[in-house]
């Protein structure tokens, strides 16, 4: 679990996970777009995410496709949020979302 928290403790790596959540199975080139850093730096970040099993790679010919693996974050959720607390947590999250959406309305 240490590797997961270390991997998540970086805004670029969280950004990479956000992008994979938006579109799973992206190649390195696609992930490098709109990121103001070198290809090598992105490769390093992806390696950290892979080592923490937050990203899983599938080879397609000579290219790597990157997939978000939700299992480690699911394990964190299961460890600290009990079965009976989930309903309440979800209700608060929904309330927060609803209120924030309201504020954003023109």
């Amino acid at each position: 679990m240490d590797a997961v928290f270390k991997a998540l403790a970086d805004p670029t790596r969280r950004e990479l996970l956000d992008r994979l959540r938006e579109e799973n199975g992206q190649k390195l080139n696609e992930l490098c777009q709109r990121l103001a850093m070198s290809r090598q730096a992105v490769t390093k970040h992806l390696a950290v995410l892979e080592a923490a099993s937050l990203v899983t790679v599938i080879w397609k010919g000579r290219e790597k496709l990157h997939f978000l693996n939700p299992v480690p974050i699911g394990d964190i959720y299961d460890r600290w949020i009990g079965k009976y607390e989930r309903t309440r947590v979800a209700a608060l999250a929904d309330l927060k979302r609803a209120l924030e959406d309201k504020d954003n309305d023109p």
């Binding site: 199975g25 299992v71 989930r86």
Partner: protein, 151 residues
């Protein structure tokens, strides 16, 4: 048939402290699947066999497309009441030091709405946990509410 050329729409991976054989027998054990689905389950023992979950009015009536013990189970994930079917593939690979990697790949038969994909992701997480628990401890994970976090 191999899916090497197909790109999955969704992938999940978990690492299990058990042999590929133990994971395979958990994966193909109808008791483990029944506890997970909370409904009677029928799983065939060869390619072409059934993968059926009799929950309510919309049963899953799937078919085993590949039964390659202890490495690969490929299932046509079909709801006759709601075609077209998806495909689900389970891949089991030794990862060293007595640890085995279980990978799930989902190939969608249609463009699912994001909300449906996300509720499915929650269900897969529980299923992988059920297989992991059984392979490591021989215990069945109790049936829990599969709808996930509810408002």
């Amino acid at each position: 048939m191999t899916l090497a050329d197909k790109t999955p729409d969704y992938v999940a991976v978990t690492y299990i402290a058990a042999t590929p054989e133990a994971i395979w027998s958990a994966l193909t054990n109808p008791r483990v699947a029944s506890a997970f689905f909370g409904a009677p389950v029928e799983i065939g023992t060869e390619t072409g066999g059934p993968f059926i979950v009799r929950h309510g009015e919309h049963p899953l009536v799937g078919r085993i497309l590949a039964f390659e013990a202890p490495r690969r189970l490929h299932v046509l994930w079909a709801f006759p009441s709601d075609p077209p079917p998806d495909e689900v593939e389970f891949l089991i690979d030794p990862a060293g030091k007595g640890v085995t990697r279980l990978m799930l790949r989902e190939y969608h038969g249609r463009a699912w709405a994001k909300a449906i994909v996300e509720s499915g992701i929650y269900g897969w997480g529980v299923m992988l946990s059920a297989i992991k628990t059984f392979a490591e401890t021989g215990k069945l994970l109790p049936t829990i509410d599969l709808k996930g976090p509810q408002p």
